[in-house]
């Protein structure tokens, strides 16, 4: 059995790996190791996810009945705003790239680290500086503008917009620098033989994301800075009372915030590709299309921001052009889903927790996609805009892209991060709870939206009560599932069974060429890559058909251990 293999392999000598080669808080806070920085981000984003999640439960609890249930309208407006702002800026945007990307990207391309390790650590500190600046504003005066900060409300409200805007400005640098680091790393640090067409699709996804991070984030930075200036110095760019134009703010804001959707979703596409590839033990159907369409989407994503503004007062001509472009970007995204499904065809499918999350994604994400088509359609967006249909739509996209892909990736790389397995049965139950809870929470919101229920409403007319209650019950199921995940992962962290080096029989370098926990510099010697990431039929080092190539697996664990799940 796998565990015995590991046990015999580990009893001989104490392993030196990236978790134990240096000890103490200082060794973590000053680390330059991309894997440790990934874990620093992991703790950070999980902290903010818990905060944002509790806020979400409060929002749903308040909406259990019409009228005041738990809190005042004022408090509710603060809470839904903070839920959005925290989830987007402090969880969704950093989650997959900064946690999973930092941990896995350098190993996947056969590098010792990212190109600029110090800059990488600096990004994490900048992230916290931005987060704390945001928190100063939130704690002292709250935030009640919605995460979108629409002017002129945001220039008039007495809540902490200025501090939060500055926080978002600072956070942007963290995002930009991480993107820059990844782009240089992918260009310059690939191992011999790691050609562009042999890059794992997760790396392609991160590469495309990095382009968006670098090009779009500065626009957000400028926008929130102008907003802060408007509040402090009354410069009159957005506020009509000062001669400004409030719709200009919306253009600026969505010019970033639509591409930001791709910052959240493109790395998720990458994670899904890895999961589908590994657990069906087959190449991704249309690898080239999946890889290059991510990059194409990254650029096209800049041309569709106006589809958030069909009823905002922009010209009908502009709306028409934005609508057409939106459809053109929708097609490659849809085709990716078909590619993943086709990859399962005649595969060898192993239903393990990470794949369950990928399958959940392949169920949830198309619903987000189809409803996105409805919202991109000029005539349909008019009644649906700013209703619960939109709320449900972006949760179907963000939660599938952000949360399901993140959880799938976390469960996939967990054994590599900590060298331990988690309880598979509990993990499958939790995945099911999350899937059911999510759909029960958000599907009724589509129906509410078609019936006209507007978003950001503290109170509602009694006709909507039943669907709101269903949605709130769903949020409890979802919360329960997430609680279960926290429980068994914590258990695994301290008491989990030791994991073999390649528990999934995966074909990428972090599984085939590192120890059960990677060493501080990942590889004993630089690996030489001779095949594509999903060429399982050529992966002798995993399956030992013929002779396992020991020269290329310089680790303590015999890689053949893997085939014995």
């Amino acid at each position: 059995m796998a565990t015995q293999t590991v046990a015999t392999a580990t009893t001989g000598q104490p392993e030196i790996h990236y978790l134990n080669h240096a000890k103490g808080l200082k060794s973590w806070l000053l680390t330059l190791d991309h894997k440790r920085i990934g874990l620093l981000y992991l703790v950070s984003v999980i902290f903010f996810f818990i905060v944002g999640g509790i806020l979400a439960l409060l929002v749903r609890a308040e909406l259990f009945e019409p009228g005041q249930t738990l809190m005042s309208a004022e408090t509710y407006n603060h809470i839904f705003t903070l839920h959005g702002a925290i989830m987007i800026f402090l969880f969704l945007i950093p989650a997959v790239p900064a946690v999973l990307g930092n941990f896995a990207l350098p190993i996947m391309i056969g590098a010792k680290d990212v190109a600029f390790p110090r800059l990488n650590l600096a990004s994490w500190y900048i992230f916290w500086l931005g987060a704390l600046t945001m928190l100063v504003g939130i704690v002292t005066s709250g935030l009640d503008t919605g995460w979108t900060f629409y002017t002129p409300y945001s220039t008039m409200t007495s809540s902490g917009v200025t501090w939060v805007a500055l926080g978002v400005f600072i956070l942007g640098f963290s995002s930009i620098l991480t993107g820059l680091n990844f782009i240089v790393t992918v260009h310059k640090m690939r191992a011999p033989g790691m050609t562009w067409s042999r890059l794992p699709l997760f790396v392609w996804g991160l590469y495309a994301t990095s382009i968006v991070q670098i090009l779009a984030t500065p626009v957000l930075g400028i926008t929130v800075l102008l907003l802060a200036l408007e509040r402090i110095m009354k410069v009159g760019i957005f506020d009509p009372a000062l001669g400004g134009d409030p719709v200009l703010f919306q253009h600026f804001f969505w010019f970033y915030s639509h591409p930001a959707v791709y910052i959240m979703i493109l790395p998720a596409f990458g994670v899904i590709s890895e999961l589908v590839g590994t657990f069906s033990r087959k190449g991704i159907f249309g690898y080239k299309f999946v890889a290059l369409s991510s990059v194409a989407i990254a650029f096209l994503g800049f041309l569709v921001w106006g589809h958030h503004m069909y009823v905002a007062g922009q010209s009908a001509t502009a709306s028409t052009i934005f609508s057409l472009l939106t459809f053109l970007i929708g097609v490659p995204t849809g085709v990716k889903v078909l590619n993943w499904i086709a990859s399962l065809y005649r595969g060898s499918i192993w239903l393990r927790t990470p794949l369950l999350y990928a399958l959940a994604f392949l169920f949830v994400f198309p619903i987000g996609g189809f409803t996105g088509i409805a919202l991109g359609t000029l005539g349909l967006d008019v009644p649906l805009h700013d209703t619960y249909f939109v709320v449900a739509h972006f949760h179907y996209v963000m939660v599938s892209g952000g949360l399901l892909a993140f959880l799938g990736g976390l469960h996939y790389w967990w054994p590599k991060m900590f060298g331990r397995l988690y309880n598979e049965k509990l993990a499958q139950i939790a995945a099911l709870l999350i899937f059911v809870g999510f759909n029960v929470t958000f599907f009724p919101q589509f129906i509410l939206g078609t019936q006209g229920m507007p978003r950001r409403y503290f109170d509602y007319v009694p006709e909507f009560t039943t669907l709101h209650q269903l949605s709130t019950v769903g949020s409890w199921i979802l919360g329960l599932g997430l609680l279960l995940v926290a429980a068994y992962l914590l258990h695994s962290l301290f008491k989990g069974q030791p994991a073999p080096a390649n528990p999934w029989g995966a074909g990428t370098l972090e599984w085939t060429h590192t120890g059960r926990i990677p060493s501080p510099h990942n590889f004993e010697r630089t690996p030489v890559v001779t095949r594509g990431p999903y060429d399982y039929h050529l992966a002798e080092e995993i399956f030992g058909n013929g002779h396992g190539d020991e020269r290329r697996t310089p680790t303590v664990t015999p890689a053949q251990g893997q085939a014995q799940h």
């Binding site: 002129p152 409300y153 007062g313 097609v331 005539g379 006209g452 507007p454």
Partner: protein
């Protein structure tokens, strides 16, 4: 317009559901059919098939172009008012709607329209961005400060239809509700004739009407319960304690200041969120409101 929007929606829903069932069905079938049977099983690679890839790029492209074109035509119809439309002015306030008819009559939170005639709304906001949404008519348009936006509809059936504000506009955003009241054509004319406020309406009566029409009720109760703002019950003559610790007796001048400059003195325990737009009330209207508040003992 509603039937046109709805048939497009149904087309979209039908096509999406069929494709979705196909996709999830294929996924489920593959997962069951090709589940791993042996641990060291390595399936033969499947070659990329150009024809399949091309087909599933071309077919969705055609489908979305159909939806786009259809949506475009509906959109143009939704936003092109017939030239003979009956025009009503709409003002968005935090947090109520005011409507002004061609003969100068104004109503608050009740938009009266004739059935069977196109109605065009020319809309602007006095403060922040609002959005005028009538779900039953499938129309929506943001209402912006410092410029006009417009929408039109033709109500076919007399009755009452709810209006929501769908652009977040602050504390009482969800309380910013109105009604479209559709009258049979001839009754509408009658209503319009009788709707004006007589100039000699007694102050207290006018105050009660303003309390309702200016949506004071959404923040100030009459039964003593605290809402977003303090209750009007027993307000006149009581001693108020403010955020800075000072106190004052609520006399006529205090009430006047609180209506016209709501931020001047903030009562302890309440947020400073009352809109400044009440500064535009006439002297007589202010006096009427004060009279009304004085009666709430």
């Amino acid at each position: 317009m509603a039937p046109e929007v709805d048939s497009l929606f149904q087309f979209w829903a039908l096509v999406s559901t069929i494709i979705f069932i196909g996709v999830v069905g294929a996924m489920t079938y593959f997962v069951v059919r090709y589940r791993r049977r042996r641990r060291d099983e390595v399936p033969e690679p499947v070659k990329d098939k150009k024809a399949i890839e091309l087909a599933w790029i071309v077919v969705p492209t055609i489908l979305v172009l159909i939806v786009f074109t259809w949506g475009f035509r509906v959109f143009i119809r939704l936003y092109t008012a017939p030239p003979d439309a009956y025009e009503i002015l709409v003002y968005g306030y935090q947090w109520y709607w005011e409507f002004e008819y061609p003969n100068g009559v104004k109503t608050t939170n009740e938009l009266h329209v004739p059935a069977g005639q196109p109605v065009k709304l020319r809309m602007t906001s006095v403060d922040v961005i609002h959005s005028f949404y009538v779900p039953a008519f499938r129309v929506k348009q943001d209402v912006l400060p410092d410029r006009y936006s417009s929408l039109w509809f033709e109500a076919t059936k007399p009755g009452e239809y709810i209006v929501f504000c769908t652009e977040y506009c602050g504390t009482q955003h969800s309380g910013m509700l109105a009604k479209v009241i559709v009258h049979p054509r001839e009754e509408f004319e009658e209503w319009l004739e009788s709707a004006g406020i007589p100039e000699d309406m007694p102050l207290a009566e006018l105050g009660a009407r303003l309390y309702r029409e200016k949506a004071c009720f959404s923040c100030h109760s009459l039964d003593g319960s605290p809402m977003v703002g303090p209750t009007f019950k027993g307000l006149y003559g009581s001693t108020r304690t403010f955020e800075d610790g000072t106190t004052a007796v609520a006399d006529e001048n205090y009430l006047r200041e609180s209506i016209l400059q709501p931020g001047a003195k903030i009562v302890q325990g309440y947020p400073n969120v009352m809109p400044a737009s009440y500064a535009s009330l006439s002297e007589r209207e202010v006096a009427a409101l004060i009279e009304f508040i004085k009666q709430q003992q």
